[in-house]
């Protein structure tokens, strides 16, 4: 798996298959990037469960906040890591233990050894990307902001 360049099909496949996403490092502050991502993914029909041991509120965007992945009672399809690269390995271990099918690390977050471990356990891995940006790029919404999506198609856009 080449983690420097993902094909659109690979990313699209993940974003189509997953339904429940746990965001580790979800912030309760509305102007933090993790809050932006959570809110956007909710509007696209995903259930997003916030994980943050330091949260001072019981809920973020109407979802109960958990202190760890292990505490979440429901099944999780994807774990989105909004923490520094040094913390990724432990979160990947927890994601494997939780039975997640995908581990996604945000822009600036990358741990190749942890990625290999996740892949050996059968998970799909994306690193150094944002699911909000990739979703909006693939469905064309990112182009609404003047961004070069790289999508060339004579078909009407959908994810």
């Amino acid at each position: 798996m080449n983690h420097d360049a993902y094909s659109d099909d690979y990313l699209r496949g993940i974003l189509r298959r997953v339904r429940t996403i746990a965001i580790v490092g979800a912030s309760e502050n509305w102007n933090r990037p993790s809050y932006f991502a959570m809110k956007y993914l909710q509007t696209k029909g995903y259930r997003v469960i916030p994980v943050n041991p330091g949260a001072s509120v019981p809920e973020i965007l109407r979802e109960k906040v958990y202190k760890s992945l292990a505490e979440i009672p429901d099944a999780i399809d994807m774990v989105d890591i909004f923490r520094r690269s040094e913390e990724a390995a432990a979160i990947v271990d927890a994601a494997i233990a939780k039975g997640a099918k995908v581990v996604w690390m945000q822009i600036g977050v990358r741990d190749d050894a942890a990625a290999r471990k996740a892949e050996a356990a059968g998970l799909e891995v994306v690193m150094n990307r944002c699911p909000k940006i990739e979703y909006s790029r693939l469905c064309g919404e990112l182009g609404w902001s003047g961004v070069n999506t790289g999508i060339i198609s004579a078909k009407r856009r959908r994810l």
Partner: protein, 433 residues
């Protein structure tokens, strides 16, 4: 597992026709619709809040974004190989917006002195009212840029192929000088167009365009664009605070942290267009989108016609010199081979032996060439800069800009080249020879 290889990147001509313009999601319309609307309804209060907070993508008010304009933005970004673009009302508005993003009062930039005359005036006079200082230097000696750098310098600005004198700048060397000093390198690629020159491949950080010229291509739509390479690490350099520090008007949002390599593009709309208001009209975006579809075909013909006309003029007894980088006689021939391998621009100058008066007679004696102040039209255009575009400049500035009294500028169109040469021939004959 899905194939993770990157598919081959589409070619330039494919991007020129398709980039940004999938069929309209609402109607399936194949040509890009002209969304002639000022505003867009909110689904509910929460949706409105998300839009105002920049938390979701969507249209709010056409001063900031518009669906027709954003198709053009994506297309010019794709043609230049950039991350994103902001389209604005004119090329001059693009220059204001580019500098506005990172300049503060008291800041400084270094620019080539071989620029479109209007840019020299804009930098030297109106920019001063914002407290932005420019030092103009001769780009033929790239070290001149380094020597002009001060502690307040934030950027270096050049035209890849200068209007009107056909000067080619050594982009790779100037980029290195800019980056050594932690400055942005901004290239006006209007005269070359992305078909002839690829500034991001030589180290440009931002590209600006007057889309009024070759991109729209038909002399019928004003417009400008700022394209971001997406390669600048804004956090690394304390000079570029506006993208890294909390933005009070968005409740302390930090653009670079929140949007990563999209930060410049998002800021250009959410702050730049919001406050400067130099919005491109949707109908001008439509005309420019349509024009760009034939950019490669037009540029090939423009370049071939221009070289033929330049060769004709070089042999004409009334002509003192021809400044066209495609001619072996040009001092820029070597740089042109490197930076403009498909040919140099259709815009070039030549000098008349009989000076100012012969220039005036020539522009009045042509019949097929249009005497006007524009370039980059399907039609061939002629201008005597000293009596028109460059008349506000001093004699020294005129000479430095390659626009002295004997100089005539041509923008060669895509007509039959024999007709263009015949028209110049009769006008030169009646201009005194």
């Amino acid at each position: 597992m899905a194939d993770a290889r990157k598919p081959a990147a589409p070619g330039f001509e494919t991007l020129a026709v398709h980039a940004g313009a999938s069929p309209d999601p609402a109607t399936g319309a194949r040509s890009t619709p002209i969304y002639q609307t000022t505003a867009y309804v909110f689904d509910d209060v929460d949706h409105a809040a998300s839009l105002f907070n920049l938390q979701t993508y969507g249209y709010l008010y056409s001063r900031l974004t518009n669906p027709t304009v954003s198709v053009l933005e994506e297309r010019v970004a794709a043609l230049e190989g950039g991350r994103g673009a902001i389209c604005v009302a004119s090329g001059h508005a693009a220059q204001v917006l580019a500098f506005f993003t990172f300049m503060e009062p008291g800041d400084h930039f270094v620019a080539a002195n071989k620029l479109y005359g209007g840019s020299i005036t804009q930098f030297g006079r109106s920019f001063k009212k914002f407290g932005w200082e420019a030092t103009l230097v001769d780009p033929d000696e790239p070290e001149n840029f380094r020597r002009a750098i001060t502690p307040r310098t934030k950027a270096i600005f050049v035209e890849s192929l200068a209007n009107p004198s056909g000067v080619v700048v050594d982009l790779e060397r100037v980029a290195r000088i800019a980056h050594d000093a932690g400055l942005l390198f901004i290239v006006d690629n209007t005269m070359a167009s992305p078909y002839l020159c690829r500034p991001f491949e030589w180290g440009a950080d931002l590209i600006v365009h007057s889309t009024t010229k070759f991109l729209s291509g038909h002399g019928n739509a004003m417009g400008g664009a700022v394209i971001d390479s997406g390669k600048v690490d804004w956090a690394k350099n304390p000079k570029f605070k506006s993208l890294t520090e909390p933005e009070p008007a968005y409740h302390g949002l930090r653009f670079y942290e929140t949007f990563g390599d999209l930060a410049f593009t998002v800021h250009g709309h959410a702050v730049g267009l919001r406050d400067l208001g130099a919005t491109m009209a949707p109908v001008n975006a439509f005309l420019t989108i349509t024009g760009i579809e034939t950019l490669a075909l037009r540029m090939e013909r423009h370049v071939a016609n221009a070289l033929a006309v330049a060769r004709y003029l070089e042999r004409h007894p009334a002509v003192a010199w021809v400044s066209h980088a495609g001619l072996a006689s040009s001092p820029y021939h070597g740089l042109a081979k490197k930076y403009l391998p498909k040919g140099t621009g259709p815009v070039f100058t030549f000098g008349l032996k009989d000076g100012y008066d012969a220039g005036v007679k020539l522009v009045e004696g042509v019949n097929l060439f249009s005497h006007l102040a524009n370039v980059g039209d399907t039609r061939s255009l002629i201008l005597h800069p000293a009596s028109t575009t460059h008349r506000q400049l001093t004699a020294e500035q005129q000479a430095a800009a390659g626009a002295g009294p004997e100089v005539v500028r041509l923008s060669i169109g895509i007509e039959s080249v024999a007709d263009l040469i015949a028209d110049l021939d009769q006008a030169l004959a009646s201009a005194g020879h």
